[in-house]
Symmetry: C3
Subunit: 330 residues, 3 copies
């Protein structure tokens, strides 16, 4: 994990696009600390441009981005679509749920078909862990994992880190508690990996039934109650709970889940005074988070997360396009 | 209700974009007569450009328009999409029916999420009256109501007025009969409001079960039979009837509805000779309108309405973008 | 059927857009040999540009392409969308399955509505044979048939011919076997017509239940077994089989179909040594084609077909736009 090289000022890093060592962004492990920090610097520059109403860039003009979503996600898909369009790319959305997959086409045939259309960037969301990685091996273009099963969702972790850095200046040394349904959460996996790279102390908090076996070896401390898990936390990240999992198998009811793990003003007091609250959305109000916390602008970073999402994805798309364009030269 | 200021020629009004006093276009009541007439002048300029095959403008380059449709409407959504793209905007379509709403997200959370993506224009269609207004209070950008429940559909009324003015030169003093299922029609509500602003005499014609209580206080005369309602009418606007409402609750059958209220050549004779026929589409042929009338190019303005839709929406989007851009300066 | 005029070199033909004699591309019969060859030359130029990463052209800037799909087809729709966007057009996708058609609108009303929006190009896929032709009579713009029922799919045949020419240099005199479910295949119909124009010897191979009556009068020789049908064939084109047709009515089971007609290495030996394999996709592996053949890069042209699809559609869209723009001048 490299530090930013001495002598490179933040403003200089910002002025040029990032280049990744790897061709794809499939998991946080594809990145080192220097790449992450350069990327967040670059995202900062894009976020500033956007606030100045300079929204349209020509960086990706003539490039084609295919948004390939095997699962519905208006939020993530729109975020990538906006990021691509703001950089001048041609964006083509493909919802494959109802289409060729229904006709019995294999994932690898879908990959070959897309590849033959010569896109430059492929953003993929898939319900099965590992599907995006498999697909990436069959195409020539750069692939971004926009969420695969319970595995990873690296741009979500990057935007979360960007949001924290934007508010608190630095991530190194912070204590960050990730709470709720860790078992089914790709957001949790990507966040633990990224926050470790950036030097945070990470905790996972949730009921034993929703905590993966071996989570204590991910680089995080595991807790089963909010009082201990939130102690001295600078940031509390709540995870989305699928309501359909609250029917006995994992937890008796949504009401009991809220009682023990739902973040309200009382439980937030367990954390450090002034602790910040995050959620990847969409929220289940009254299940994993209470409206008094979610809507309190002094503690909630939830809207900022969405805003940062577009800027971070612009930086990621640019970095992958740059890396691809310079492939032969390297 | 201001008149166009004396000394401002039509061609001058046309040469510059309109500015609205209000930030959003949620209902016809947001507009005064001067704004409406300037807008129709501007739409006329866009319609002329379009016929000259000058279709692409740069007015909205770098601006983002989100088309947020909670109800399906290929027709209205495409019309706004085309209007946005012809002005150079980046257009992102979101069909929210099957997505985050299904995941239990509230309308206000959806609004906050979209707002955080920093669009410039938000076009919203929703099944519940008032939902678009609620959403508009939670976002920073300009919002256009593209139809909310049984409440309003202001751009439809504007394109209807534009179509009439284009054909008859003026709206002041005309007698316009709006016929059919007034109870469930947002098109009727917006049209009554707009035609009153423009000085027309408005009538509502329909069975008592499909006429809202108090419709006579909207600024329209209420009739329950076509013979009296169409007498001396210059324009007959038919409303779309939902077939599923023809099953006893509101009316015995589609066949009886057609017999009493469906517009055919016979009933059209009740109106002024040369009276024109309009319909917002999609039509139920043989229910509220007969093909002999709908397809007669001498009386039917139905295709013109669709064509005018794109031009009117271009003018509306431009006006809202302009108003937003100059917000601080005012 | 005209030959390319003497004295016109290939490179010259390439340097300028093609013009069609007909306004629409509804069926292969709309084209003559000169138009086809010019189109393939032009597609070759686009394919070369694309490989050089010159992907964005301004040829169709300011033009609007509507992709109107009454049937799902991610593959074909994306191919036209990419082709349109790479030439600078504004592309609007309409999936009409769930929308206005569900509201009871007739095909002709849909056509009138679209026409009123003043698109320049309309790409239509419909489940009923002849629907696209009907629609084309009701609109002012150029229409491309992207597949109508069991009738035609002309751009698929063009990309197939382009793929063969790209690999073998010439089509005249080749023996090409089209195999499988000919009865339900619009791809087969368009290919027989086009390959006849280009001077190939065409064969249709399939079980009697899946061979249309009168197929022997299409300009192809009919065979009911693969051994005879593939003898001396330069190219073997497999057709997609709908699995739901393998349940007794047309054939006992997918397994028996594969046994008699599925292309594997054994059956491919019936063809000329070095024969090439094609499939319009999506494939049913293990039904009409075996993976050992489909994935063998020495014989399979399946990925090339998809790649050629975008270039061919660019050439078609350009030709139709050109023809329209010069309509009055002719």
């Amino acid at each position: 994990m490299a530090q930013r090289p001495t002598g490179v000022k933040k403003s200089e890093a910002r002025s040029s696009p990032v280049r990744f060592r790897h061709k794809h962004l499939l998991a946080i492990a594809d990145l080192d600390r220097f790449e992450v920090e350069s990327l967040l610097d670059r995202a900062e520059a894009f976020a500033e441009l956007s606030e100045k109403k300079v929204k349209k860039l020509d960086t990706l003009r003539g490039r084609t981005l295919i948004n390939l979503f095997f699962e519905n996600s208006t939020r993530t898909q729109s975020s990538f679509e906006l990021a691509g369009k703001r950089m001048g790319a041609d964006v083509v959305n493909m919802s494959v749920k109802s289409s060729s997959v229904a006709k019995g086409e294999t994932l690898i045939d879908t990959a070959a078909t897309l590849n033959a259309m010569r896109p430059d960037l492929l953003v993929v969301r898939h319900g099965s862990s590992g599907a995006v990685e498999l697909l990436s091996r069959k195409v020539d273009c750069a692939v971004v994992n926009a969420g695969d099963g319970k595995h990873e969702h690296p741009t979500q972790a990057l935007l979360d880190a960007f949001t924290i850095r934007d508010r608190l200046g630095n991530i190194e040394g912070l204590t960050i508690a990730i709470c709720g349904d860790v078992l089914h959460s790709r957001v949790a996996r990507s966040n633990v990996a990224l926050l470790n790279i950036l030097g945070a102390r990470v905790r996972l908090v949730g009921p034993p039934t929703l905590m993966p076996i071996g989570a204590d070896r991910w680089g995080a401390e595991v807790f089963h109650n909010m009082r201990d898990g939130l102690k001295d936390a600078d940031v509390v990240m709540m995870l989305r709970v699928q309501r359909e999992r609250m029917t006995g198998g994992f937890f008796p009811s949504a009401r009991e889940f809220f009682w023990f793990y739902g973040l309200d003003e009382e439980k937030l007091k367990f954390a450090k005074p002034g602790a910040l609250v995050m959620h990847p959305g969409p929220m289940n109000r009254g299940v994993e988070i209470d409206s008094t916390v979610a809507d309190n602008p002094n503690v909630s970073l939830i809207e900022t997360q969405v805003r940062m999402g577009v800027a971070v994805r612009m930086a990621v798309l640019e970095a992958l396009a740059e890396s691809g364009a310079n492939e032969e030269a390297r």
